[in-house]
């Protein structure tokens, strides 16, 4: 009898062991699956995750430095890293290098992070978030997602870009630029509708970084987010309107209206002076945030031709300073930017994400394309006379208008992103007819390729023909 008792005991222990919970939740770090319900606390953390990732993606060589090298404003001469020249002014960007592979994955990571919050919104409890809160949150992260897609397509241009779906491992086609811009425009409109639902007076139910709230306007208020959203939409619609392969001139009116809304309904020429600096900025902190403004770099120089373009009477001339001669790979310069001098202050210097000065000049560009030269001149002068005593001479042709606005935009947004590259490309100016070759092998690159990692995942070796 005793023996069967022992056998039964052993069997019982075995059964008990099998019934033990076999799972072990990860305790070392949070996981996406661990967030079952979006709460105000988790939303706050995830929101900072999106904005911080977007900042990290933006504050990169591929977004800040390389496009400005292609736009003939900036040199980076480094004997130990010759690709800053070899893959920009001296040849094609290698899709496997930082030059050809940058400015891509990090934005998609940011977009995925934004989408993660959008999906989690379904789990938000009404006790934690009102319907207006949910709409405001949705509007904000849709806008951020649209911004990240736009960052990719402005660097890739006609090469195209993929678009994510809610299936997080789905590899979508590489869509052509018109398709991508149309998608971004729709996303921004959806976000705008969300903001409308939330109401202009509503406030985001989480705290944004100071870069969103401390530069003349608090973008935690939905009314101001609408201005941000419309500013982006106006920018997208303007470039859709003048797209060289599939122009949609009808969108010029839309863009003007959107940009006017982004400027708070301000009439042409009404926004000037210190108000131009109002906007959203990326702020840097090498100590606490472990991220610095990478323009603060001893290997950076200004393209010497830049000095010839800026009259000494223009206050923006102060952005250029002398430096010890930096030369190599056929380039040489003894100029740099005041904000590129390696100093602690420059490492902390904010960079605008979108400021009113850019919106004013974008509206001027739209007026020019719409042949509304007087309005365009008002906006151009609003900027120009902030830095100069004398106004811009009136113009009567689109070409002259473009020239005038490009001058202002170059100086006002100097080394603040790919805006000049986008404009030169859109106007068809980035070629030998308009710029002397920087190097004998200057290919006049206008865009960057699909990165090698993306090609590998698609079993491709070269950029595919994009999907319309």
């Amino acid at each position: 009898m005793k023996r069967y008792l022992f056998i039964a005991l052993a069997a019982g222990v075995a059964v008990a062991a099998c019934k033990d919970n076999p799972t072990a939740a990860p305790i070392d770090a949070p996981t996406t699956a661990a967030i079952k319900t979006l709460t105000p606390a988790s939303l706050q953390q995830l929101a900072i995750g999106v904005t911080a990732q977007d900042r990290a993606a933006y504050a990169s060589t591929a977004v800040l430095t390389l496009p400005e090298i292609l736009a003939r404003d900036v040199y980076r001469i480094d004997q130990s890293e010759p690709r800053y020249v070899g893959e920009t002014l001296g040849g094609q960007a290698d899709p496997g290098s930082f030059a050809g592979g940058g400015g891509f994955a990090a934005f998609y990571t940011a977009a995925r992070a934004a989408n993660n919050i959008l999906l989690l919104l379904k789990t938000a409890s009404p006790k934690d978030f009102s319907a207006q809160d949910v709409a405001a949150i949705r509007g904000f992260f849709r806008t951020m997602k649209a911004l990240d897609y736009y960052r990719v397509i402005e660097l890739r241009d006609t090469v195209g870009a993929p678009l994510q779906t809610d299936n997080d491992l789905e590899i979508t086609p590489i869509y052509c630029k018109p398709h991508v811009l149309t998608y971004i425009a729709a996303l921004l409109d959806s976000a705008n509708a969300d903001f409308a639902t939330a109401g202009a007076a509503a406030v985001l139910p989480f705290n944004l970084p100071g870069g969103f709230t401390s530069f003349g306007r608090d973008y935690g208020i939905v009314g101001n987010l609408i201005r941000f959203n419309r500013g982006l939409k106006g920018k997208v619609d303007f470039y859709r309107a003048i797209d060289r392969t599939a122009p949609q001139p009808a969108l010029l009116t839309t863009a003007i209206a959107e940009l006017t809304q982004a400027l708070g309904g301000a009439a042409p020429g009404a926004v000037s002076g210190a108000a131009l600096a109002t906007g959203i900025y990326y702020r840097f902190d090498p100590v606490v945030d472990k991220i610095s403004n990478l323009r603060s770099d001893s290997k950076i120089a200004a393209n010497p031709k830049l000095a010839d373009s800026i009259p000494t009477t223009d206050a923006r001339r102060s952005k250029l300073v002398s430096r010890s001669t930096l030369s190599g790979q056929g380039l040489s310069s003894n100029l740099t930017f005041s904000f590129a001098v390696p100093t602690s202050a420059n490492q902390n210097l904010p960079i605008p994400l979108l400021k009113d000065e850019e919106l004013v000049l974008l509206r001027a560009q739209a007026y020019i394309e719409a042949n509304q030269f007087a309005n365009a001149l008002l906006d151009i002068n609003a900027v120009h006379q902030t830095y100069n005593a004398t106004p811009v001479v009136p113009f009567a042709t689109v070409a002259a208008g473009r020239s005038a606005v490009l001058f202002e935009k170059r100086l006002s947004l100097l080394f603040e992103g790919p805006q000049r590259l986008v404009d030169l490309r859109a106007y068809g100016l980035l070629n030998a007819a308009h710029f002397a070759a920087e190097l004998p092998s200057d290919p006049y690159n206008t865009a960057f390729p699909i990165p090698r990692a993306e090609l590998n995942a698609r079993n491709l070796t070269v950029n595919p023909v994009c999907t319309p």
Partner: protein, 992 residues
């Protein structure tokens, strides 16, 4: 899975419902077992009646008695250390005398075949390496791993540096993984113990890995080093899945089974061993001696002070590493049993090993209590426990990016400069190219204590449910825990020159690791014995839980003398936690028949673990084996056994299951976004399948044994990091895929060339070789995650069709620059240089006993293999730019070639080492009687040495070093390591 469960149930049911014992007339047999030659009575000899389960053990005086079935019977007597013996007993005979011959070649051992089953090595189907405690401890070693070096064929055992306290990697039968666990499983008395290497935070002052967080370059110690080698009765190494499948998803890398000593019947013995020793630097770089001030100037240094220097040719290595420490080990153990059925083994150890640098040392104290108790005739309980404390202070060595390593300073300091402490207590500074460091100051002021307090405990209960003439059924329950706290500190005071360069001088790292391994298991073992066969059926389950929590806090800006990290101006903390739960179900059948000539084994272990993508899914690890001892043999042959084994084991996926949230800080606020490594919800264990075959040949009346084994090990479902399209928002995803196939050969030849009454010479030679190739790789070729310094110097590389141990480096240039002196980055040609692993490894072990004198030696030979000597790169420079190596021409030529894209730092790393030498003398009993007033039974004096001599073409300090410590691939990086040491010991062993 289901079919295996059905098989397990069938086996168990068959065992339980087999025929009951049958009553018959009994035959009382009594006798005595003695040793052949000496006539010494042998206790603890197992005497069994062949064809039955009836058996007993001999008492202290060698006597035994048992009740056998009526009729003629055959008795089998066996004991570890002696050859088995059978004797025919007639039905009318009731007294027998059995003599057992010493098994000097270890022809017969009990080797593990299951969780609670063993089989004699005479029948074993696997080549299980068995190392006895005596062989292990012949020469004192700081750690068990060190003591195993050169003693296990098929295992490459390598110490990462000469720093005291271990840091050793064991790799059995080649590379078995790329990204999963690469350490063999350590099991002590049935308890799985932890062999982690916990970084101590040295990186905070070396910045070897950049930043300040603890890293793999912290010159870590693997924690198996805590075990006291002197407590070990024997070690068995299950080399591959064909033997280790019973350990399921932790068996791929082999299993090291450690059995500690137990109490035994007979007179209680007190053994005391006192060891005294010292160490000296075993190898130094040949550095330059500047003979004139002009020579100093020509080398690009400032010769000011040359004329006044009293010593123009400092040997900095000798000055810093010239400490000849006083080492000691005191070991005492009490072993015996009581009449009431209690047996016990109690031991203690106090050990101190100094390093080559003043203040570096390794200290260990341990107390072990193993107690067994028999309750009645059916229940036996055993409890083993060991409490260990170790304190390791390993100083600063290995790669650094702050200039703190001694060799960094030596590489830039002309020999006439004095670096040692001045009489006023200050240290010279501002010398050489490295302005900011003085290694003598570092040695004196930087503290690196690592305190480990560890408890190993296990309890085993065996209940004989059925005991009959023909069958037994035992219930065996085992439970145990391995728990330790690893408390490390790095203290670099603000007074250090190297700290004064920091914005916040004064660094403290406080690292607290808490690791717990616990496992419980229960099995039912049924043995059914007839005159035709013996069938052993076992089934049961095991549960394992592992919990890790390592918290490291780094503080900067600490006042001199303060050791409280909380007093720092700036504090950064990191924490790593882990929890793993596993459950296994197993069943096994062993069938021994044809007069114990044929052994067939089949078994399966099914296991689930929380590390798997689906934690509820069981993965099965079957095994099958057969061995056959041939009945027909040539004249000089005693025994020839053919064996074949097949088995499967796994390796748990240790990463990649979850999509973690990565933290980012914006404006001081922490946020989270999904990691770029996408979680793989279907991740599963790597799968290793091994087929092993070979033979064991015994010759010349037991004076010769030749074992040869061939194996093929195939690793499938490798844990690989696959690149995914970045447009998804992720960069990679862990997948199961790819395949590594390893073929290997192991040969062991044991001989007793001389065996007389006075002289006995035993010689064992081992040979092993293996090569693993990547036969499938579903991802793009890649450099593994393990540490390296890039392809300019050389790194591991994983590519289909290549050896898994291949070394890749830049070695060629499509076009040099315009001056012909450098190879531009774009023109460098990557090549596979060769195999980083040895072609083969041999061990030569010789023991010669001449009366009371014993001499033993162990020589370790590794043929082939490659290492990367980055240490030379620290010293190499152009003529006039100050190479500090004595041969400046070679040094200059090397750096010139390096710039041209040649793999000049890849070197052949084969070697021959005299690992161990011992000369011992056993004092005559009449002398010990006079000396110790008759209280001492035996006394022996041993003079021994470890790592006494190395022959190698490798130009660095030691071809075995690994800057990144233990890692699956690419451990061949040599960066300014702690020099190797020779160890000498004088030991007095006494038995009371």
């Amino acid at each position: 899975m289901r079919k295996y469960r059905v098989l397990a149930l069938a086996l168990l049911a068959g065992a339980l419902f087999s025929s009951e014992a049958y009553a018959q007339q009994q035959h009382r047999i009594a006798g005595k077992v003695t040793a052949t030659g000496s006539g010494e009575a042998l206790a603890n000899v197992a005497v069994t009646v062949v064809g039955t389960t009836i058996g007993t053990y001999t008492a202290e005086d060698g006597s035994f008695q048992l009740l056998a079935p009526a009729g003629d019977q055959t008795l089998l007597a066996r004991r570890v250390g002696f050859k088995r013996s059978t004797i025919r007993v007639a039905s009318t005979q009731d007294q027998v005398a059995i003599a057992l011959e010493r098994d000097v070649l270890q022809l017969e051992e009990q080797v593990v075949t299951g969780t609670a089953t063993t089989v004699s090595s005479v029948n074993a189907a696997n080549a299980v390496a068995v190392v006895s405690g005596e062989k292990l401890n012949r020469v004192p070693a700081q750690t068990v791993d060190n003591a195993l070096q050169g003693k296990v064929s098929g295992a490459i055992i390598t110490q990462n540096s000469g720093a005291p306290g271990g840091g050793t990697q064991i790799q059995v039968r080649g590379v078995s993984t790329i990204n999963a666990s690469f350490s063999p499983l350590y099991v002590v008395d049935g308890v799985i113990i932890d062999n982690s290497s916990i970084p101590n935070g040295l990186n905070a002052i070396t910045s070897a890995a950049g930043g300040t967080s603890p890293s793999s370059q912290d010159q870590t110690v693997n924690r198996a080093s805590d075990i006291n080698p002197n407590d070990i009765e024997s070690i068995q190494v299950l080399k591959g899945p064909s033997a280790s499948s019973i350990y399921g998803s932790r068996g791929t890398n082999g299993v090291i089974l450690i059995t500690t000593k137990r109490g035994r019947a007979g007179k209680t013995s007190l053994d005391v061993a006192q060891r005294f020793g010292t160490a000296s630097i075993a190898n130094k770089l040949k550095l330059r001696c500047f003979k004139t001030g002009t020579e100093v100037d020509d080398a690009g240094f400032d010769s000011t002070g040359f004329g006044a220097a009293t010593n123009k040719c400092h040997d900095y290595q000798q000055e810093l590493y010239g400490e000849n420490p006083f080492n000691y080990q005191t070991i005492g153990s009490l072993r015996g049993a009581t009449q009431s059925g209690t047996n016990f083994f109690i031991s203690g150890l106090v050990q101190h090993d100094g390093g080559l640098v003043h203040n570096d040392n390794y200290n260990k104290q341990s107390l072990r209590v193993n107690v067994g108790q028999q309750f009645g005739s059916r229940l036996n309980l055993r409890a083993n426990s060991e409490l260990i404390h170790s304190l390791t202070e390993r100083g600063v060595s290995g790669n650094d990016n702050t200039g703190i390593n001694p060799y960094t300073t030596f590489s830039a300091t002309p020999s006439f400069l004095e670096l040692r402490r001045r009489p006023d207590g200050s240290f010279p500074i501002g010398v050489g190219a490295v302005q900011g460091n003085n290694p003598f100051q570092v040695a004196e002021q930087v503290k690196t204590p690592e305190n480990v307090y560890r408890l190993l405990g296990s309890a085993t209960g065996t209940y004989n449910i059925i005991v009959a003439d023909r069958q037994t059924l035992d219930l065996i329950a085992v439970g145990g825990v391995d728990s330790y706290g690893d408390n490390s500190k790095i203290i670099a005071p603000a007074t250090l020159f190297i700290e004064q360069a920091n914005a916040l001088p004064g660094t403290i790292v406080n690292s607290q690791g808490n690791i717990v391994n616990a496992n419980v298991g229960t099995s039912l073992n049924h043995r059914y014995t007839t005159s035709a066969f013996q069938a052993t059926t076992s089934a049961g389950f095991g549960q394992n839980r592992r919990q890790v929590d390592v918290l490291a806090t780094t503080g900067h800006g600490v006042f001199p003398g303060v050791t409280n990290v909380a007093a720092s101006t700036q504090v950064v903390s990191t924490e790593q936690q882990d929890l793993v739960k596993s459950l296994s179900l197993f069943a096994q059948e062993e069938f021994l028949t044809l007069s114990e000539r044929l052994l067939l084994t089949a078994g399966v272990n099914s296991e689930r673990t929380s590390n798997n993508g689906d934690p509820k899914k069981f993965y099965s690890y079957p095994k099958f084996s057969a061995s056959y001892r041939l009945p027909w043999l040539p004249p000089v042959t005693d025994e020839l056994k053919l064996r074949l084994a097949y088995g499967r084991a796994g390796n748990q996926p240790t990463q990649g299951k979850f999509t973690f949230l990565t933290s980012l800080i914006e404006e001081g606020v922490t946020g989270y976004r999904p990691s770029t490594v996408r979680g793989a919800t279907k991740i599963q264990p790597e799968q290793a399948t091994e087929t092993e075959g070979g033979f064991d040949l015994t010759m010349f009346g037991g004076r010769g044994r030749l074992s040869a084994t061939q194996f093929r090990k195939q690793i499938d479902k490798l844990l690989l990091q696959a690149t995914v399209a970045p447009s998804t928002g992720f960069n990679s995803l862990f997948i199961n895929g790819g395949q590594i196939v390893t073929h290997g050969t192991e040969v062991e030849l044991a001989l007793t060339p001389v065996q007389t009454g006075l002289v006995q010479w035993n010689s064992t030679t081992t040979y092993s070789s293996n090569k693993g190739k990547v036969t499938q790789l579903p991802v793009a070729p890649f450099i593994p995650q393990s540490g390296s310094f890039g392809s300019r110097f050389g790194n591991a590389f994983v590519q289909q069709g290549q050896l898994i141990t291949v070394l890749q480096a830049v070695n060629g240039c499509t076009a040099l620059n315009s001056t012909g002196t450098r190879c531009p980055a774009a023109n460098r040609v990557l090549k596979f240089i060769g195999n980083s692993a040895p072609d083969y490894q041999m061990g030569f072990n010789n023991d010669v006993n001449i009366g009371p004198i014993r001499f033993s030696s162990l020589v370790d030979w590794r043929k082939g293999g490659l290492g990367i000597n980055l240490t030379n790169n620290y010293f190499d420079s152009d003529p006039g730019s100050g190479s500090m190596l004595a041969d400046t021409a070679v040094s200059a030529a090397r750096i010139r070639e390096f710039r041209k894209g040649r793999a000049v730092y890849v070197e052949k790393s084969g070697f021959v080492k005299i690992r161990e030498v011992t000369i011992g003398y056993e004092l005559p009993t009449d002398l010990t009687g006079r000396l110790f007033a008759g209280r001492v039974g035996t006394a022996r004096i041993d003079l021994s040495g470890r790592n006494l001599k190395t022959w190698t073409r490798y130009s660095g300090l030691d071809p075995e070093v690994s800057n990144f410590g233990n890692q699956a691939l690419g451990r061949f990086q040599d960066v300014t390591p702690y020099p190797p040491s020779r160890l000498y010991y004088l030991t007095v062993n006494t038995t009371f």
